[in-house]
Assembly symmetry: C2
DNA sequence: TTATTTAGTGAAAACCATTTCCATTAATAG
DNA sequence: CTATTAATGGAAATGGTTTTCACTAAATAA
């Protein structure tokens, strides 16, 4: 991804600048990786993908950029209980394929599911409204995860 | 909590022994603290509460015991994103007052809510059934958290 | 354009919750 | 009571993440 192809073209350009953040090579590259990758990448995963092409981008910058992206709501920071944070792209304004997670407590495998999402979301919206009012809480986001054993791990037992 | 008052009396005695775990002073004390405390305690919180009366119980044992309790399903291990795990008592078999969480992303305050829980649980049960079948996943537990700004923090802005 | 300002950066060091190591202690079985 | 071995405490190690600091470069002013 040569710089010229991207600079100023992504829909996120304005978002960065609008919040007073500078648009740097590192940030573009990391955002690019995230937007193109399925799944849940750790900071190190991202560093590994970035480093071959852009050895000048360090792990520190990956962490710092993920923080910024996270605070801008462009990336979700997730915890699956294995001691390292995972990040996933937040899919722009249309929230294209929102999903929830099934987490295997044995092998830490994570399955994204979109089944039942519509019903879940509908209920969540109601719940959010009620909770916001009752607790004066400005809800920005939610997390739903199911924990258990994946097919392989429950067979092993 | 003198040892004699407790040894062999708690409903968890059998659970421990049945799983091949020994019933030790440390485990009893930690379980006692958890069962009497409202809220979400970190390992260090628990250590601080235990240490004055039982200085012989070390932080390592707290961690180890929490692991055991967690694997027995007697305690839930929670993550609110502030870098340390929190633990809460799982309320025995009747699941007395199951609740979900509202987490403030600014001050890390956590509100337990039980409102809307019935509808949520009902939907979750359906969803669980569907997911279990489709993905051959044995669901043992779920996590629902809403993230946002608490009253104080949204006023500050 | 060039100069100025200051946000952003890489590398190494620090941080800190948690885990591991190991010699010792104590709960349970016989 | 004795033997067995799970459990323990304290210190050290671990490892993901954050901080420090001197340096670089993006944005802005001249």
């Amino acid at each position: 991804m040569p710089r010229g192809e991207c600079r100023g073209q992504g829909w996120w350009h304005g978002k960065f600048r609008g919040c007073g953040y500078r648009l740097t090579l590192g940030r573009e590259v990391i955002l690019d990786i995230l937007s193109k990758s399925e799944g849940h990448l750790s900071a190190e995963d991202i560093y590994m993908k970035v480093h071959p092409k852009y050895p000048s981008v360090g792990l520190t910058t990956v962490y710092r950029t993920l923080d910024v992206l996270s605070s801008l709501g462009m990336v979700y920071k997730l915890d699956f209980g294995d001691g390292r944070a995972r990040y996933e792209f937040a899919e722009g304004p249309k929230g294209a394929h929102h999903h929830h997670h099934l987490v295997c407590t044995d092998c830490n495998k994570v399955i994204d599911y979109t089944d039942f999402i519509d019903d879940e979301i509908e209920l969540l919206n109601q719940t959010e409204k009620g909770l916001s009012k009752k607790y004066n809480f400005k809800i920005a986001n939610h997390l739903i995860q199911f924990y258990g054993l994946c097919e392989k791990c429950s067979a092993k037992k």
